[in-house]
Amino acid sequence: MRKILTGNYAVAEAVKLADVEFIAAYPITPQTTIVERLAEMVERGELNAEFVRVESEHSALAAVYGASAGGLRAFTATSSHGLLYMYEMCWWVANSRLPVVMAVVTRTIGPPWNIHTEHTDILTLRDTGWIIAMSENAQEALDLTLLGFKIAEQVNLPFAIGLDGFQVSHTAEVVDVPESLDGFLPKRERFFVIEPGNPITVGGLTENECSMTIRKEMAKDMERVGELVRNSGYVRDYDLVEEYRMEDAEYVVISMGAWCGDMKDAIDILREKGVQIGMLRLRFVRPFPKEFVEKLDCKVLVVDRNYSVGLGGIIATEVKSIANCDVHGIVAGLGGVDVGVDDFVSMFRKFVRGELKGWWP
């Protein structure tokens, strides 16, 4: 059924479709309307979930941790400072192999206070062991949330879906909402069972080798994610990346998130002028779509809406570690600074001429 939904409401619809059993969250702009809508659904009896109000994001993910360890399908959502406040629990969830799904509505980390989009917040999850996906629009936010539960429960790793603050989270679009899931999401199977009368402790003090074993096992399951995404059985086909006008491309732009829509417009404009340029849009950051980057044989531009002070754009750094061709990184749009189609046209032109510097503007 086609509905007009913002990205945040699309995520809430997906959570409802997934029959989530437990939700705990703390409000933070621009995430708030996800859990607001979910609270309404629970209140109206449309969603049979336990909704727990907590006093902080750390508690939100701690509650979700407990619910998920107890076997429930659990969800939370946050942004920016909220994500940082729950950061410790992010690692607990990952190493305990709990298939939690979390929406991260990307927002600049302060100071100064800033509620607009930047991807540095979600990229703090990079090393935790969470699967990290990044949506371009409301439709993808809905689809990746549903895919999230499926994949997370198959590999027992938590799943984060990124939505650009306001650009995806608060922009209404036509979204195709599946009527039902037709067995796409079967009842969750538990990796370990905590129940009364058969007590266990997860993650207590143990021998050093265990820590290493845990991370090695996680790496192995993370490697299965690409194949599972391609063969998920979802109503729409997905892969770790979207390839746009890549045929015969001499220049390829790599980026992620909402502004990739503007980049595609810029690519169309340049294609009309005869520039052989295309785009590799990262739909997933973890697992990193290595196989797609490795095979590139052209000049690559990475546009990062994030920054690691002392080295550079985070995605550019990762692409450089894998690619077998020239990679140029540029940092743009930090703090939600607007970068539009005209900017991308002139940015890509400068890149083609070899005149592009490291920051835009």
Binding site: N95, S96, P199, T206, E209, I214
Partner: protein, 83 residues
């Protein structure tokens, strides 16, 4: 992740009695068998019978909670080298 899951068992962390600095010494003549020490012992190393209590020194870490909670002063904490 088997290595990360612990099931309750005796001495899962080794002979923790070796950690002890102070040893609880039981004075049965003062004991009224109220069982508070049994209830409060965080290590579950106190057994109660009609004849009094016994302490499993292989796993007692010497925390002293039993001595503190005992209203009859029937448990005394003594430095290990003095016992």
């Amino acid at each position: 992740m088997e290595c990360m899951i612990a099931k309750p068992s005796k001495g899962a962390a080794g002979k923790t009695g070796l950690w002890r600095t102070f040893k609880p010494i039981y004075h049965p003549e003062r004991c009224n068998l109220c069982q508070l020490c049994w209830l409060y012992c965080p290590e579950n190393v106190i057994d109660v019978s009609e004849d009094g209590i016994t302490i499993d020194y292989e796993y007692c870490k010497g925390c002293g909670i039993c001595a503190k909670i005992c209203v009859k002063n029937a448990i005394e904490m003594v430095r290990e080298e003095e016992t």
